[in-house]
Symmetry: C3
Subunit: 436 residues, 3 copies
């Protein structure tokens, strides 16, 4: 009899342990109706197999869950998935991208002084709530489906892993990377797909054609910045940081390719990057010169304030694509789209992206920028002429304009006080000469 009771008890215990894990039992019956897909995905997940129930991640405060206050973010996943968590935090994915601005604290070899750009000494709170100008111009709905849909990867493992499905087949597929790494500004997915790597993957499988993960997450590492030699905006890292990264990437390439072949290929990418930067800088200089002479239409002081810099010209990473002039809009496309496509196309061995979608667009936009700059200069001269002034005939007006532009250069730090003194003297000498 005792035996039979013991047997029964064992059966019950086994039955319980084979059924849903504790806590899940409470949730499942109701949620099988309310959120059937979530339940189904969890039931077939590694979590269910490991007896990790609902409560473990969502907590037991149902009110909080319903109000959306019990978000299952990285702080929930981290304690169990420590290796992945640590690698993720050390990578670009772990940067504070939440508001569309990258905190650099986790990147290797950064100057700690850099922190002061966003934080008071000793504080981890950002100086302002959000620090991306484009984000700050968005409605909250557009920010949610636009910026933050991707720029929550810092804090949410579900960005890539989805909520309840733990299948590695999903996250090892480049399609999982596509939903953020695509589009006009950084079409890495598109360019991989139509590169030789992507073609071989599609036609001969992963053993022959590498995926995003093969090169950027080797051996399942969650450090996706492995082997990267430039910022997300495409600014080359200093040699101290770039050289060890390049060595890392070459080790990956050399799993398939002769090291010398790989070295040359990546060096070609570096050269294309540097050449493209030169084209970009030429366009940027044209715009600043126009601004120095007061020729942008409209000038920054005539437009709504830039959320971070006020009524000033901005052409760096905080550049806006709205409330700006036509010529700056052209430059935004060059910088954010053309430049990125050229260099990422070169590093990913995709000729259509490196050349046609990238380099050719970069050069065509430079043609348009030069044409618009010429129109703005002629417009400026016509305005002056309209006011009865004539620069050619009136050396004083020409000198005044030149001095104003020089002053503007000093104020924005593009010219030292010493250089200014020299240039100013030249202008005044010329004016004196013409007066004779």
């Amino acid at each position: 009899m005792k035996n039979r009771i013991a047997q029964l008890a064992l059966v019950v215990i086994v039955a319980i342990s084979l059924s849903h894990p504790a806590a899940a039992e409470e949730c499942i019956p109701c949620h099988r109706e309310k959120t059937p897909a979530a339940v189904h995905q969890w039931e077939t997940s590694a979590h269910a197999r490991a007896r990790i129930g609902c409560e473990k991640c969502h907590g037991s405060d149902h009110d909080k869950i319903v109000k959306g206050e019990a978000r299952v973010d990285m702080k929930v996943c981290g304690p169990c998935h420590q290796k992945a968590f640590k690698e993720h935090k050390a990578s670009r994915h772990g940067m504070g991208l939440h508001s569309g601005w990258g905190c650099t604290r986790n990147l290797a070899n950064r100057d700690p002084a850099e922190c002061r750009f966003c934080h008071e000494e000793g504080s981890t709170a950002p100086l302002s709530g959000v620090q991306c100008a484009r984000f700050l111009k968005q409605t909250s709905e557009m920010a949610e489906i636009g910026c933050n849909y991707c720029h929550n990867v810092e804090s949410s493992c579900a960005s890539c892993h989805t909520n309840h499905n733990t299948s590695l087949a999903i996250v090892r597929d480049p399609n999982s990377c596509a939903k953020c790494h695509m589009g006009p500004d950084h079409p890495q997915w598109e360019m991989w797909q139509t590169s030789l790597h992507g073609t071989l993957n599609a036609t001969a499988g992963i053993s022959t054609g590498p995926t995003c993960q093969t090169c950027h997450m080797p051996k399942g590492s969650h450090n996706v910045s492995f082997g990267i030699t430039m910022s997300s905006g495409g600014a080359p890292y200093p040699a101290k940081q770039a050289e060890p990264a390049r060595k890392e990437m070459l080790q990956i390439c050399s799993q398939c390719h002769a090291p010398e072949f790989a070295r040359k290929d990546l060096a070609r990418g570096d050269a294309v990057r540097s050449q493209s930067l030169t084209i970009l800088k030429e366009a940027e200089k044209i715009i600043w010169d126009l601004s120095d002479h007061g020729l942008l239409d409209p000038m920054p002081e005539q437009r709504p304030e830039h959320p971070l810099s006020g009524r000033k010209l901005v052409t760096d990473n905080q550049m806006l694509y709205e409330d700006t002039s036509h010529i700056e809009r052209l430059f935004f496309k060059m910088k954010k789209y053309d430049y990125a496509r050229t260099i990422k196309g070169a590093y990913h061995q995709n000729p259509a992206y490196a050349h046609w979608y990238g380099n050719a667009e970069l050069k065509m936009d430079l043609v348009d920028i030069k044409a618009e700059a010429n129109r703005l200069r002629e417009r400026g001269e016509a305005h002056v002429a309209g006011k009865g002034e004539n620069k050619a005939a009136d050396p004083a007006a020409a000198a005044e304009d030149a001095l104003r532009a020089l002053k503007s250069k000093v104020e924005r730090g593009a010219m030292s006080e010493e250089e200014y003194a020299v240039e100013k003297a030249k202008v005044l000498d010329r004016l004196k000469g013409s007066a004779k």
Copy 2:
């Protein structure tokens, strides 16, 4: 002996019934040579299995078939496939899209008075043969491979089902939707493919990642307008029509998601739609103001006639992308491409389409429209100045221009006669004031 004859007869009957159905027998031998793919597809189709032969759909008049007069359209398929036929007719697919213009007769909750827009009272014949301005500007070849290649879905089941292959695997695949629902104006296929829904479909199958059909043709329904809350041009439906549609869609979402999550997600789409419409309207107003002041280059009266409206400015759904001015061309892109991508991207949860391909383009095009408007205004002033007039110096000329613009607003219904009287008085008062 009788038995043997009976047996033989049976064998013959069975042989016939197992061979091609009656009528097909005549066609097959010849067409196996002439159109082998059609024959092969039919042979492996549900039609062949159900003994539906060639004649049943194509008729028996071979001359008519050869002349292309025996088109197998919906009238042929409908009598057998009544449920699908009825659902199709009630949906947007069933609208009279043949000529690129939608007849609204089959849509729910429409005001019958609306019919008079295209039809005489009591007549089903359209007032004019074709009613889409863009279509009317096309060559017949371009209309065939362009407009009508998709806009024949009203009458042709083969638009989606192909001609002889009855495989459901084909039409249940989003690829079947792609050939029409793609491109710069409505890239639903592209945005689905790279959304989380598409990613999960590609990596974990249809049980985890829904297709177009999962949400828009639930349970195989042929009513693809199920749950849609706006016109194909993106104009929100009135609440009376939108609310029940939203409920329908939420039921679909809730098969996987918590209803509150789904509600918020779709509401976010509504907000993005409304915000995008505001940007669009700002641009449209700029163009109409230019037109009121006679500043478009060229003005509508200087261009070839609009096929439906003559020499008038058109910025509604009948807007052309040819024989227009540069600024209207920019607006066409905003309206037809940027706006559509923003809102469809938001509803389909694709950040790259909602933001970069959509919202950012919308704002960049607005920058360009404002710049071009400013150029056109300055050009107008220069013309006036060239004629020896000077608005600043000549209040009479300025008043004349203001009155002309007011008149134009009244004529196009943007201002009532009462408002006109008030505004006119203001202009005249100002003129009197300046004369003192």
Copy 3:
């Protein structure tokens, strides 16, 4: 004992013959470490099965190989793969595309006199080293990842076949064609993928949905120009050459379709091509007229030299997308992108490419070109007015401009000396008339 020795010898021989082929034996142990992917791919290749070792293709001079001087190009593959080699050479792929310029020597029905365009009589050496203007403007790194990544197909079988993998599954997949036949200028891959052919391929397999190879490489032929009726730039072939090509293509179509259906479909493509060329020519004429009147901004003589034509306007296949004017940049897009997408979209039955990505862009770019031309003309008049001249008031200035434009037309061969004399007389008569 003899028997045992004989047995042993046999075992050794068999072992050797089953192991790597001679020569490969030397390379493999080391390269299994250094280039593991290459070794793995070769080991599972048809070459290994046929006992074709490393030396057979790479030679035995290791120094040369390391220096990159032992390139495995078509000359290495050709002697064994003679049929493929011959077909390849006779096709557009076999043309001298290496420098971005096509040698026509292998194309059917060419006038031998054409050779003199690039070669001295009797010489096979090109007159200049490279003959593509766009290529000549590139940095060598961009040329390598841009132009020559695809334009090496003339000499390198590995362009399509990859280096060591002989799998036919790879090269029979349209993905293998994608990496060159994609992008803004010729998106054949994209338009196939979303055409009915591509959809059926994706959903029902190759027996129902044909691939690039089905139509352009029938029965594995390496002559990819089979059935093509126009140059790679989209210029229609003369009837003598086009007619037999059309017959070839119709034979392919007729394997699935009724011949009359196929004939009409391709004829529709021809019509779209011819209509699109008319739009293109209208834009080209506008640009040449501006140039004749000295109104381009900047004029060719004010810009860096064109690498092949010097300081002259170029709008043919050697047109540049850099160091040009805004209006020419617009035309470049029309010609190279819009026109190509329209006609290739029509021939590949893709409505989104034929219409929206093609024809609509063609027409929108024409709108922009006309607007820019008008601005340039007004700018020209303002310049003249600024110099105190006034064409309307000063018939002599107007006549001078007209004569300059006529002279320019004669010089560029757009007008005969006889026509010039007639037109010149008219201008002078008009001048005399106004003087009365």
